[in-house]
Every structure is written in structure tokens, then in C-alpha cells.
Amino acid sequence: MKLFSLLSTLVIALTLPLHAADLSEQLAKLNAVGPEGKGNPEAATAWNEITQGNAATILPVLTAMDGASPLSMNWLRTAAEAILEKEKKAGSTLPSEELQAFLLNRENDPQARYLAYDFLSGINPDETAALVPDMVDDPSPPLRRVAVAALIAQGRSQLETPEKAATTLQAALDAARDVDQIDEIAKLLREDLQKSVDLPTQFGFLMRWHLIAPFDNTDREGFDRVYPPEEKVDLNAVHEGKDGKEVRWETYATSDDYGMVDFNQPFSPLKQVVGYAYTEFQSEGEQQVELRLGCKNAWKIWLNGELLFGRDEYHRGIRIDQYVLPVTLKPGRNTILVKACQNEQEQDWTVQWEFQLRVCDSTGAAVLSTDRQPTPEPEEKARRRSAE
């Protein structure tokens, strides 16, 4: 399919005012922008040349998004939109058929395909809308979102026939990847149709952990300080914690819909402290996934002993998928260690000492550990016992 796409682009390119080789060269300049402004002047010159092109230039620009960096995506997007805007004003014939073929080819870049959809919606709204239902399993998250929105609307309209509505909304839930849509569907299923929804599994939140705390974080110095769990996780070890007190690993299970791991539950609300959470994830094979973290405390995270990222911001807010960390899981056992630091603030909105972590693919679909246990029941919440 990729080869077909490239050949199509080549054929289209032959009809362009810019020679195909020239266009390819200019597009390469948009794809060459880099860190700290690198390549901006060359890209600006190329952008001006590309946007002189006619409607047939749009497809090669969208095709050039394959593998483009986030910055280059914007150079390409604005070029495609500028050409479309110009050609629309000029009353030119727009390449509807080519755009539709590009949209329907799932091998093309997901965001580029959404742009094609967006362009088509402005050209042939009814024909484009007819394509939406088939996008419900689309690998492009924004296209899938459009289809899920249609299913939600359909489910809402069926609420007076609960079985129909439940079927539609369950299909919507199965397809949904965006947090706001999943929340909306779960609310309808639970509150309007009295159906159960296992949100933690839907999202892929990690629910079962080992926790150890408190270590010292006076003057916020604990963020940089290396405590024993960062050197080696030994669930049977006893360490010296804050004020010289002994600390041990404890098992912890959360039943929170959004996988919140709350250090305040087992350890009581504390200030100027550091806690660690450890879990293991069994991967079916080597795979690219994303660890998506939400945390309003300073934090660090390690995968298989490798520090992925850390951030020393306190109490500015938390949300699902606040931080997205692309990683590669190895086959079998993978270890995950999270460090969560609590600071000295005393306001009531600074009590939280918690995080939430899920494993998913780049579209937001949950990736589950092969030994994932059932979601803990509420009565299991915050069980505190010695790790054995």
C-alpha cells in the first residue's frame, strides 16, 4: 500500500507546476527543520515556493507527512492548508477523488489522513459524512474520534430502547480511545443503562503496586537524592527512612476508576517526604508502548532500571495522560518504579501525594499485562500489609 501511495504521488507530481524533483527537494526542506530553529530559513523559502503550487500539490504535501517530526508536520500542514485556501478562493477544481483515496488508505500518516478528511468535509460534506461509520476501527485517533462521536449520538438517541442503546454504546466504548469520550460513554452505560464498566481495564491503568515511604524531602532536596529503591528494588529489604525510622515495602491495590495510587492512604498525609511505587508488567513480546502518567507531585519514573524522565513541579494540576513517555517493552517481565515527592505546602489543595499510570499504544488503546489480575473491588482499596 505504501508503494501504491508513493506511485500515486509520483503520478500527481508530474502534473504540477513545480517539477516533481523540485517539489520533492522543497518538501525535504520542510522535513529538515530541527531543534532550536535549525533549518527555519531554508524551510521558509521552500514553504513559499510550495504554496505557489496548484491544487494538485496538496496530495504530495500530505504524503510528505509520513514519518515527519512534530515541527515538520506543522510546516507541511500549513502549506497544504494555504494551497487549499488559495485554490478555493480561485474557484479551482479540488482533488476530491485523490483526497478520498488518500483518506481511505490506512497506511498513510494518521494526522495527514485526518487533514484529508477535514479538507473533504469542506468540499463534499455529505459524501464525506458517509465515510464516517467505517472509521470506527481506524488507526487514526482523530478519525476514530469522529466515528465514536457518531456512535455516542446514536446511543443517546436510543436510550428509550435500552438494549439497543447498550449495544451501540458498548461498540462506542470498544472503539473509543480519547479520555473524554470514554468518560462520556461510561457515564451513559452506568447511570442511564445500569451497566457495569471496567474503566481501569479499558484505560490500561496499573492497579497493583508495592509502596515504600517516607523518605526525607525537606527543602525539596529528596527529588535529587538517590534513596535505596533507585539503586535496587528488594521487596524484603528494610531501609532507613525519614527521621531514621525503618521503612518497608507494602502491597497496595487501588480500585479507583482512574488508577490513582494514593500514598496518603497507607502512610497518612505527610509533608516533605518521598515515596516509591514498584510494579511489574508482563509483556507478550517486545513492543512499542506508551507509559502515560498523571501526577501533581514531583516525580521520576524508571523502566527496567532506566530513568525515563523526571519533573520537579508540585501541585499545579493532574490529569490522565498528563505526561506521555514512549518506551519499548521487552518480552516477559518489565519493572516499573515511580518516585513521588511531596513538598512543604500546607494549603488544602496540596494534600495530594499520588499518581496514576497506564500502559497503552500510541492511539491510547490499553496494552494489558499478560498476567493482569481482575480490577480490585472497592473493599480491597488501600490494603496495607507487609510484602511477602
Partner: protein, 400 residues
Amino acid sequence: MRFPIFCLSILAVASTARADWLNFRGPQGSGYAKEMQSLPRSLSDESISWKVPLPGRGLSSPVIVGDKLFVTAASGPEQKQLHILCFDRNSGEPLWERRFWATGRTMSHKKTSVAAPTPASDGDRIYALYSSNDLVCVDLDGNLVWMRGLTLDYPNASNSLGMASSPIIAGDTLVAQIENDSESFAAGFDLLTGENKWKLDRPKAANWTSPTVLKVGDDEVVALQSSKGVLGVVPATGSSIFNFGKGASTIPSSVASGNRLYVPSNGLTVLTIKDDGSEPAEVWNESTQRPGTASPLVIEDTVYLLNNAGVLTASNIDTGERLWRIRLNGPFSGSPVAGSDPFLYIFNEAGIGQVVDLTGDEGSIVSELDLGETILSTASLSDGAIYVRSDNSLWKLANP
């Protein structure tokens, strides 16, 4: 040590001469444009010249260059789509739009928006910064000149409540404060390429204030405010010129007038910046005059402060003596602005625009206009008109 001589760009001079509204709070970020004439002395439904819808929310103010008006917005799930929109400022006709995918974090408090910072212009180009730390330069026709993803370059530079500091142009440098609890910095960017001219580490603390341009003699100095105080830097190099270290607010910004800087610090502290490189001299401090979210406004010999209770206070700029105070119809997220006529304009969060007559022994609200939509922004002024944006719309208000 005397200041180095700075070359003011021809562009900046030309822009000033056109009396455009080029950045947050207009000329030098002061909120006061003494060359702006024939502004409405009252507001009514007849004052609405036009109203146009916007595709997304934003707290940014319109920027005006010639007959064109530019405004930013953010839309879509998690505000990941960024917009720069250009309108004919006379008719409200949409001229062009550029859309971008945010490359940095878009999380913010629900009250604010990814499109919180106001763009800046040098009269030839628009420089739009977003809370996601995307920094985009387009020319007046929407042609992309450069783009930076500052979170791609500096991954811990973000604020989960949202960033809001607006960039400003001084000489041939765009200055932006990307200040937060973690990877906190200020930088000067080349206007034509977007490359760093300089980058300074800044206090690790959330900061929503905007840089202010201060004229000292013939030279321009950029004042960078933070919780630690105010640092004055040479815009072209980032070299330090002065440092005021007694702390300052992280929400309302300082305002410059002449060689004085009015700093929201321990209430309000007024500094004189000398051109001999010495530390700023404190002219007066008044701890009871504490600006709220709105930044101070200086008009001739009076400084106006709006506190969080909606009380507008007028004080003598030389002594700090309170002249009068009145209660406006708050609460306010935006700041007041004024033109040559002695009227102050401000919109409250409910969308009620208020015109305050500053001519009498004490100020008085002479008219109110309820626009009926949430307004968290500061208005912009140009040629007899007030331009203001709400969560959903953009208005031009002028004499009927």
C-alpha cells in the same frame, strides 16, 4: 558603566509611527496609547460595529497592524489545535487562518487556555506564543516564517496550570519568559530565523507576568519580572543591566513610564532606572495598593491600580498619595487600557465592558455594555475603536 548603545530597528520605528497595537497592553506593554484618539466615550449596543465568531477559546488580546487584526485561539480535544486568525479590522471579514498541532503540553487550568499569551508584532510579522510553548512566526499574509517547539527543545519547560506570559519585541529581538517550577528560562529570539540569540536560566517558580520594555535614555531595556523581583536585560544579548531583588508578583506585570518602573511588589513599588548601570532607586512603595490580576496603568501623572475586589485606585505617581478610589463591576481577569481621551476601558469576566471617566475629582463609570459572553482578556485599541475577544467571539466597538 553606561548602557551599550542599541540599534533600534527601522521596523520598530515605523511600527510606532503607525500607532498600531502590537502586543499585550499596546505600546511598551503599558496599556496606554496617548496617540489613540476618538475612542468611544460611552458604550451601548449601537457601539458594536461588528462581531465575528472565533473557532476556539483564548485569553490573548487582538494585535493590530494597519488594517489587519490578528488573534490566537486554541480548540479541539485537550486544546491541541492552535489558531492564528487574521481579520479586516474595519469590516471584521476573515482574511486568513493558520492552524497548527501543538507540539508541547496543552494541560491548563480550565479557566485559562492554551491561547493565553498575546502575540507580538514588529509591523511586518506576527509572533504567536502558546501555553504549549509553540512559538510561531508568520508574515502579515499568513506565510509561515518560522516555528519553534520550545517544549521539544526544553522538555521540562511547562506549567500544568498553563503558561500565560506574552512575548514582546525590543529592537530586533523577540523576548519571551518561559518561566515555571521546573525548566525555567527567558530567551531572546532572532526575529527572522527564530534561533536563540540568548537564553537565561530564571527562578524555578511559576510565573505568568509578561516582559516590559523600558526606555532609559535612548536605550531599550527589557524588564523580566518574577517572584524574586525584576531583572533588567539588554534585549539583544540578555546581559543584565539592573536587578531589583525584593520580590514581585507572579500575576500582574510591571508597567513602564519614562524611566520609571511600577512594579507589583509588596503592594506597589516604583523604581527609577538610571542609565549609569546602578541599582534601581526606590521612589516610593505603598503596601496597601496591591494590584489583583490586572496590571497597573500609568497615564500622565497618575497610576491606576485595580485590586481583586474590583476597586480602582488612582494615585500620584511621584508620591503614591491616593487621589481617589471607586468600585468597578468585577471580577476582572483582563487589564485596563486607555487612549488619549481620559477614559479607561475594562471588561469584567461576565463580559460587561466599563468606561471610566478619569477627568473629574474622582473617576466615575460613565457607561457599561453587557456583551453577554465570558471575557478574560484585555482589550486592544486602534483608531477610534476598541477590540475585545471573549471565549467565543471577537468584537469591534466604536462610536456609532
